[in-house]
Structures are given as C-alpha cells and as structure tokens.
C-alpha cells in the first residue's frame, strides 16, 4: 500500500471500505497563510493554543528564529514559525493562533500555524512531487487538491531540516 508520507510509520486506517477505494490515513492539516500543509497525524503530538507559548529561556535567546517555548513532558521546547514559502520568521504574524507540537526522534519543536485540523479518515489522492520541482531542501513530498485548494504533503523530518541548527531541538530545562 502506497503511503504518502515516506518517513512516517503511521498506519492507514481502514475500518470501513473507503468510498473512493483509496487507503485512508490520519493526518493533520495546517494552514500557514495561504499554504495548506498536510502532516501524518502520528508526528503531531498535540495541538495547542498560541496562548500556551512561553517566553524564551536564556539558552534559546541566541537564535532569533526561536519565538518562544512550549512545555511538554516536563521540558520546554522551541517554537518556530514559517511563512507560506517555508521561510523561518523572526516574528510570528497575529494570524498564527495555534501551535502544533511535532516530534522528531526524541526531540520536539512547536510550529505556529493559523489553523490546525485533524482528519481521521483522509483518503484523497496524493501525487508525488514532480521531479522537475525538486530542490534539495524542499520539505514538500507530495501534492494534492483538498477542498479545491493545493495542499502540500510533508513530514516532520523534512520540516526539522529547515531549522537553523539541529541542537535547537533541545529542551531548555
């Protein structure tokens, strides 16, 4: 069965025969400005309100692209914000109302977004990113039309690779 999220071990959910005949997956759909970004649900640990973001700890202050921290499992993890072109922002727009906590390995980071929707039975047709559109650092692995809008499929490993330094993915406490 083709899994549109190559790095994820998420299992497709198929308790009922899907209408489209396609396998069903659990995904989280993020809105970041006019970008729709689809991630495997098992890579999203939680969806929080932006109000949960805490001020930077001293260890994180050296990186201007860390916008705050979010507590989880007794630690505080860095929070980032992209724009619709996957460029890291030094200041999050007011429209970023939600924060998804993403995990990569043993580490976590928060990603601010305008909205986050959890879809438990997604069965749309995902197309691989055409070869002509590949660049080395692109986080986009697939494309689809969802509710008549272009949606980019990605995974947390690809997003984490856009962060300035891997050591940023450490807790502040």
């Amino acid at each position: 069965m083709n899994w549109p999220f190559p790095s994820s071990a998420a299992q497709p959910r198929s308790t009922h025969a899907p209408v489209t005949g396609l396998p069903q997956f659990r995904v989280v759909l993020l809105q970041i400005d006019n970008l729709l970004l689809m991630l495997p649900q098992n890579e999203v640990r939680s969806v929080e309100s932006r109000s949960q973001i805490q001020p930077l700890h001293a260890q994180m202050r050296t990186d201007t692209q860390v916008l705050g921290s979010i507590p989880y499992a007794g630690h505080d993890w860095p929070v980032y914000s992209f724009d619709a072109r996957f460029q890291l922002l030094e200041q999050a727009p007011e429209t970023r109302r939600a924060c998804v906590l993403l995990h990569v390995g043993e580490h976590f980071f928060g990603l601010l977004c305008d909205d986050a929707r959890v879809l438990n039975a997604f069965d749309g047709q995902v197309h691989a990113l055409p070869t002509a559109m590949h660049v080395a650092r692109t986080p986009v692995t697939g494309l689809l039309l969802f509710e008549n809008r272009l949606t980019c499929v990605s995974n947390v490993a690809r997003l984490a690779a856009l962060l300035p330094n891997p050591q940023d993915l450490r807790s502040a406490s």
């Binding site: 072109r85 996957f86 197309h127 055409p130 070869t131 002509a132 559109m133 650092r137 039309l145 272009l150």
Partner: protein
C-alpha cells in the same frame, strides 16, 4: 532522404525550439494553476490533469534566455502538455510549458541538419539532441527528459557535448 514531422514552439522572439510530433499531447488553457513553495524558479507551478500532477515549466527561464520572454508567465492562455520519459524512474510523464503562440507543425529533412554556433550551443546545447535550419534560423530539438527531469546542469554534462546529429526523435 529521411524526413520527419515536428512541432515548432516559440520560446521567445527569435528563439524557437522543436519537439517530436508525438511529444505534444494536448493544448489547454492556463486556468487552475497552483504555486508550489520552494520549487525551482523555472518550475514553480503545477496543474492537475487527468489525475496527474503536471509540472508547469517556464521554458524561457529553463533555457536561461537573455532575450525578453515570448510568454508572460501567469497570463498566457496556452499551455502545451508534453510527454517525456523521467530520467530517473523511466516512467512516461506529462509536463506543461507556456506558449505565447500555438505550435507550428513542420516537416524536417535530413539536409536541414545544422550545427549551432558557440553562443547557441552555450545557451541550449545541454538540453538539445540535435538542431536544424528552419527558414534561416537554427532550431534546437529539445530533449524533454532533460528539460523536465535533469535537476542541475552538472547532471547534463558540459554544454557542447551534444550527441551526433540525428532526427529519429522526430518520428512521423
């Protein structure tokens, strides 16, 4: 004497390119095109056609033309759907290019084969399999596989390493 049919596509004023007859799949209008973030500047748009995600390529940019574009990206009304073989997967895929004018069908004979000059070779040599003289202008025959699936110039080899001239891509 061999001859074959081909399509002449205008890339920019004074720059036409040729493709094989069967490489042109369909002409469509330019509606419902979507921008993809973090994609190459010459191929940052996609459309959906017959259950495929079709990359939309700006030939003018891909060929790094110094002359003004013949097609204004985003506002042109003609898109040509082209078939090509993916260099890596060997799958036959479909890509789209903007055209300022409809393609023109020509018949090309062996005696039209002509080598480009150094400037032309530097411009499009790495994307062409051959070239011919068409009404006094040298027209490259594009290798669509390289146009759409060769990611960097390094993978194409140095400009000037054109294969021997042949017309078998222009199959009638």
């Amino acid at each position: 004497m061999n001859q074959a049919a081909a399509w002449i596509l205008q890339v920019a004023p004074g720059l036409n390119v040729a493709i094989g007859l069967r490489e042109l799949v369909q002409l469509i209008d330019g509606s419902d095109i979507y921008q993809v973030p973090m994609a190459p500047d010459y191929c940052s748009e996609v459309l959906f056609w017959q259950k495929r995600a079709v990359p939309v390529l700006d030939l003018h940019r891909r060929l790094q033309c110094s002359t003004p574009a013949g097609a204004k990206t985003g506002s042109t009304t003609i898109l040509a759907l082209l078939a090509y073989e993916n260099l890596y997967t060997r799958a036959v895929e479909v890509g789209a290019v903007y055209l300022p004018t409809p393609p023109k069908k020509v018949i090309v004979n062996d005696n039209q084969a002509s080598m480009p000059d150094a400037a032309q070779l530097a411009q499009w040599g790495r994307f062409a399999v051959s070239s011919f003289d068409n009404e006094g202008s040298i027209v490259p025959v594009l290798d669509l596989s390289r146009i759409f699936t060769a990611e960097t110039a390094a993978t194409l080899g140095k400009a000037g390493n054109m294969p021997p001239l042949y017309l078998n891509r222009l199959v009638a």
